[in-house]
């Protein structure tokens, strides 16, 4: 029986190969897209899952209920961890964590590696398996260093690494360390990534901050005792907070902070570490948390594509069904039961789905590298073999065949035997379901087109908006790897002095945008001025900062080596000046460090966007205060040959620092990097829209083929009666154009709502314009019209005698 079914199924599929190929291509494309999409989403949602105690690990953070809203910070003060461990027995393990670049040296070999400062509990909490060394005491020695296998191999080659002494250059101090453990390389699927681990005591300024509750310098994670319910932990912390954070609370109060409904101005809270990959409010563990909207929109688009493909499948199968009504009639006459016919048609569906699946996966393999490049994804096809994914795929497959196969099969089985044997195959009804499905398809497609246009407009706007400084001709060089910024700046200044293409050189604490080093810094300072608290971003700069970046000076002057007092002078931006609020800000003295020594405002610059355009321009103070390091060197070159200038500067750098990689990048590259997420989203929308439209049009094409078949006689009669070719094309297309129009109208409010919400995340944004909707509709209608034309023109041009005779 089954063999018979498969045999007839195969022959039927072959006979309707044009239809079935369209069907197969549509479904295969959809399957390929969905596989890539769902793998990506799966990847994003399974971050850090390798930690066996994941569900019991929490990150601690602070909340300040400021007048302008609650401010969440994941940075905590140094004494917090020992105090919590001592005072709360529920805390089983707790570790501080901070990172820095460091040079590790063994013999002649020197490597620039990612170093983490952690407490001893770190390796007891997180599942980073040791290959060599003892888990219980691997970090018990103050001068122990734990290294990854890759580092061990790079540094020691085949030589055993355990118990070797290496030299670590941390914050420009070189110290000997003993390799006490070697870890398996860290999965790229981890929020915590490092090459070296040392005790937190080595963290710069550790001793100075040991009792400083007001200096927040690092993050901290807690593991609770088994069986402890962490839900009550936060409320238990209230006395702890009152005891240790009293000065901070006082300052907040003065600043106008209001108690929340529980009466707290400042409190500690915990967030599950398992969610840290999406914790954009906490800034993630290592920075770069992923906004959940990104995987969620991926899921939504994946579902859209799948729905559109299923709709196609249904419409195409129903259409095909008409041509097979006679067969159904004959089979029924010969005694086939409904069940037998249902199974027969369902087997055909399964065969098409299986073939689509195979083609889809092949397509997936062919596209995966491009996909990974475009979406910065780290997925691999081997993830398909994961039991969860495999199970998901099987479920999805069954679901698709059930939805896409069952309805058409049911339709066919329901044909009236007598009618179909007489040759009345064409159903006279316009097919409410078919029209509804078409509307759904085109609604989704139009929605995606609108999203594409709007995200594209916004990104374009972000890229082209003047930021108030020169971003095209300024190169930003991260000073990393334990180089002293000050010294590096001096060396580079000297080195570049004689380069004709270099206009000026300066250094700064914060970068502009996000550089090749991938890190972002900001420093906020609060102080009392008159009767209010002033909060300002601090940017440590060097001479020629304004000149190098072409920042417009409104009043006063730039820092100048000729003025001896400039090391304690500041330049502020307009917003800061407004916040200070006094007349004659220029030249006035401000108590920035709450100390006796006030600093003088020597210049006011025009506001410029020193942060990404997600955020407004905040108060900013430029200072030469040597407490802040120089982390970036900015070099302005003369316009003209930027490539040659880049190479020349790189060469100079390599002459000075042969062991340290040159990571310089143009500032406009850096600012673009701030919108990576947006670009990624826009990429998703574009691909989604293109695929949705293509699959929808394949479906429309097949339906138009069927409609033309059904209406051949009508077309013949109309032509005989004198209708023009144009008239017939219009007649055949109008029905569909109306549906597409309806679909667009349905998509408008949804698209507007979605994109308006998305735009709210930008301080600087475009307004949604009506013509975007018009354009999207026009595009959808045009595509639909062209698709239908293939068939309608052919039908209209056909000789009517032929179609009438065949009846």
């Amino acid at each position: 029986m089954l063999k018979n079914y498969i045999k007839t199924a195969w022959r039927n599929l072959w006979k309707g190969r044009v239809f079935n190929l369209l069907n197969l291509v549509g479904l295969a494309v959809a399957i390929a897209c969905c596989t890539l999409i769902f793998l990506t989403v799966f990847y994003e949602f399974t971050y850090d899952r390798f930690h066996t105690k994941l569900d019991n690990i929490y990150q601690i953070y602070t909340v300040s209920n400021r007048a302008e809203g609650a401010e969440v910070t994941s940075s905590v003060p140094e004494p917090l961890t020992p105090a919590l461990k001592a005072e709360y027995p529920a805390v089983k393990y707790m570790t501080r964590s901070a990172d820095a670049g460091a040079l590790i040296k063994y013999g002649n070999k020197e490597l620039d590696e990612n170093l983490h400062f952690v407490d001893e509990d770190f390796l007891k909490m997180f599942t980073f398996p040791l290959i060599e060394g003892n888990k219980n005491n691997v970090l018990s020695g103050l001068n122990n260093v734990v290294i990854t296998q890759a580092t061990a191999k790079a540094l020691f080659g085949e030589e055993p690494a355990l118990n070797k002494t290496v030299l670590l250059n941390i914050n420009n101090v070189q110290q000997p360390f003993i390799v006490s453990g070697i870890l398996e390389d860290i999965s790229r699927h981890s929020s915590i990534e490092f090459d070296l681990l040392v005790r937190f005591e080595h963290y710069p300024n550790y001793a100075a901050n040991i009792n400083a509750w007001e200096n927040r310098t690092h993050i901290a994670m807690i593991e609770f005792n088994n069986g402890y319910d962490p839900a009550s932990f936060t409320s238990q912390l209230t006395p702890f907070v009152k005891k240790h954070f009293a000065p901070s609370i006082e300052i907040l109060k003065k600043d106008g902070a209001k108690p929340n409904e529980k009466g707290d101005i400042f409190w500690l809270d915990i967030a599950p570490f398992s969610n840290n990959h999406f914790a954009t409010n906490l800034g993630g563990v290592e920075g770069n948390p992923v906004n959940k909207t990104y995987p969620v929109s991926l899921i939504v688009i994946g579902c859209f594509i799948l729905i559109i493909a299923c709709i196609n499948f249904i419409n195409l199968s129903v259409a095909r069904g008409f041509t097979r009504s006679r067969e159904v009639g004959v089979r029924k006459t010969l005694g086939a039961s409904k069940g037998q016919l249902l199974i027969q048609f369902w087997i055909e569906t399964i065969m098409v789905c299986l073939a689509s699946m195979v083609v889809g996966l092949l397509l997936c393999m062919a596209l995966i590298n491009q996909f990974k490049a475009i979406f910065k994804s780290r997925i691999s096809l081997s993830m398909l073999l994961d039991p969860v994914t495999l199970f998901g795929i099987i479920i999805l497959f069954l679901l698709v065949t059930a939805i896409a196969g069952f309805y058409p099969a049911l339709m066919m089985v329901r044909y009236k035997t007598v009618a179909v044997l007489k040759g009345n195959t064409a159903s006279t009804k316009p097919g409410k379901l078919r029209n509804t499905l078409l509307v759904v398809q085109f609604s989704l497609s139009t929605l995606l087109i609108i999203c594409t246009i709007i995200t594209w407009q916004q990104i374009n706007y972000l890229q082209n908006k003047p930021l108030g400084y020169n971003k095209t001709e300024v190169l930003s060089i991260p000073v990393s790897g334990g180089l002293i910024g000050e010294k590096a700046l001096k060396l580079m200044r000297n080195e570049l002095k004689n380069h004709a293409e270099v206009a000026s050189v300066t250094g700064a604490y914060m970068n502009m945008g996000r550089g090749n080093d991938g890190s972002s810094r900001s420093s906020i300072l609060g102080f009392n001025f008159g009767d209010k608290e002033i909060r300002t971003h601090i940017q440590r700069v060097d001479y020629d900062y304004l000149k190098t970046l072409d920042i417009k000076l409104l009043e006063g002057r730039e820092f100048n080596p000729d003025f001896a007092g400039d090391s304690t002078a500041v330049i502020i931006n307009e917003t800061m000046a407004r916040q200070l609020g006094t007349k004659n800000v220029l030249g006035s003295f401000v108590p920035m460090y709450d100390s006796v020594a006030k600093v003088q405002v020597v210049g006011i610059v025009k506001d410029y966007n020193f942060r990404s355009l997600h955020e407004d321009i905040a108060p900013l103070t430029l200072t030469m205060d040597k407490h802040y390091e120089i982390n970036y060197i900015f070099v302005k070159v003369k316009p003209g040959n930027l490539v040659a200038s880049y190479d020349a500067i790189k060469k100079s750098w390599n002459r000075q620092y042969p062991n340290t990689e040159f990571e310089g990048s143009w500032i406009n590259e850096n600012t673009e990097r701030q919108y990576l997420n947006e670009r990624r989203l826009s990429g998703i929308f574009v691909s989604g829209a293109v695929i949705a439209i293509v699959i929808s049009c394949i479906g429309l094409l097949a339906i138009s083929i069927m409609i033309v078949l059904q209406r051949t006689k009508e077309i013949g009669i109309r032509k005989v009666l004198g209708s023009s070719v144009g008239g017939i094309v219009l007649l055949l297309s109008m029905d569909f154009v109306k549906l597409v129009l309806l679909a667009s109208v349905i998509a408008f409010p949804i698209a507007w709502w979605l994109m308006n919400n998305w735009l709210q995340s930008f301080a600087y944004r475009i307004t949604i314009q009506w013509w975007v909707f018009a354009l999207a509709t026009l595009l959808a209608i045009l595509l639909a019209f062209i698709t239908i034309s293939f068939q309608s023109v052919k039908a209209a041009l056909a000789n009517p005698v032929k179609s009438l005779r065949s009846e």
Partner: protein, 225 residues
């Protein structure tokens, strides 16, 4: 074998109701060969469809082997049909995607006959219809006469008690048509009841009895000698 009493069938569109069968009474005995004749639209095909349990009447009674089947549901009708009735159509209605062998095998599949028995019975009937040499051909590769022979083979393979033929020679030339009529006569002589709708007086002469229909009721019955 068949007894219909006051059988009625209407076709309705939104505005018009057409009477296809108007209180029709017919009785057909086992082993008879009956021809049904009449002008277009007189209800011949409607009658044949109801007799073949492909369609249900709107009124009256239909006794098949003394069982009232007028109110049977689709499943019961399908069951009765596949075990008792074979169909021969004017347009053959062979399935193009299946070979001669597979077309004939189809009713046996639906009645659940085992594969070995199917092969035996299909080959037997194909030999009888002298079409065995074409067993692996597809319908389009055959002449009209051959196609109709396959269709008859398919109709009889299940050894039905009744064969309903709707203008079986309508699409054939006269020599092929005669061949088909000879086949039907042979089957009838072996005991199968045959009811045939036809326009052709020539074909009707093969039957025992002609029922002439006009506007949905019997006008005259001729007994052939």
């Amino acid at each position: 074998m068949i007894k219909i009493t006051n059988l009625e069938k209407f076709y309705r569109t939104e505005e018009v109701e057409t009477v296809a069968l108007n209180k029709l009474n017919i009785e057909i005995n086992r082993g008879e060969f009956v021809a049904i004749m009449g002008p277009s639209g007189c209800g011949k095909s409607t009658l044949l469809n109801i007799l073949g349990l492909l369609d249900d009447p709107d009124g009256g009674s239909y006794l098949f082997n003394d069982i009232e089947v007028a109110q049977f549901n689709e499943r019961k009708r399908a069951d009765l049909r596949k075990h008792n009735i074979g169909f021969v159509f004017q347009s053959f209605n062979l399935i193009d995607e299946l070979t001669v062998f597979e077309n004939v095998e189809l009713p046996l599949i639906y009645t659940g006959v085992s594969a070995t028995e199917r092969k035996e019975r299909v080959e037997e009937v194909l030999s009888k219809m002298q079409i065995m040499h074409r067993r692996n051909h597809y319908p389009q590769q055959l002449s009209g006469g051959q196609q109709q022979r396959v269709a008859i083979a398919r109709a009889v393979v299940n050894k039905p008690k009744l064969i309903l033929a709707d203008e079986p020679t309508g699409n054939l030339d006269s020599s092929n048509g005669n061949e088909v009529m000879e086949l039907l006569t042979d089957l009838n002589e072996q005991g199968t009841t045959i009811i045939m709708v036809t326009h052709s007086e020539h074909d009707a002469r093969y039957s025992h009895r002609i029922i002439r229909l006009l506007d949905g009721h019997t006008v005259v019955e001729n007994i052939m000698m």
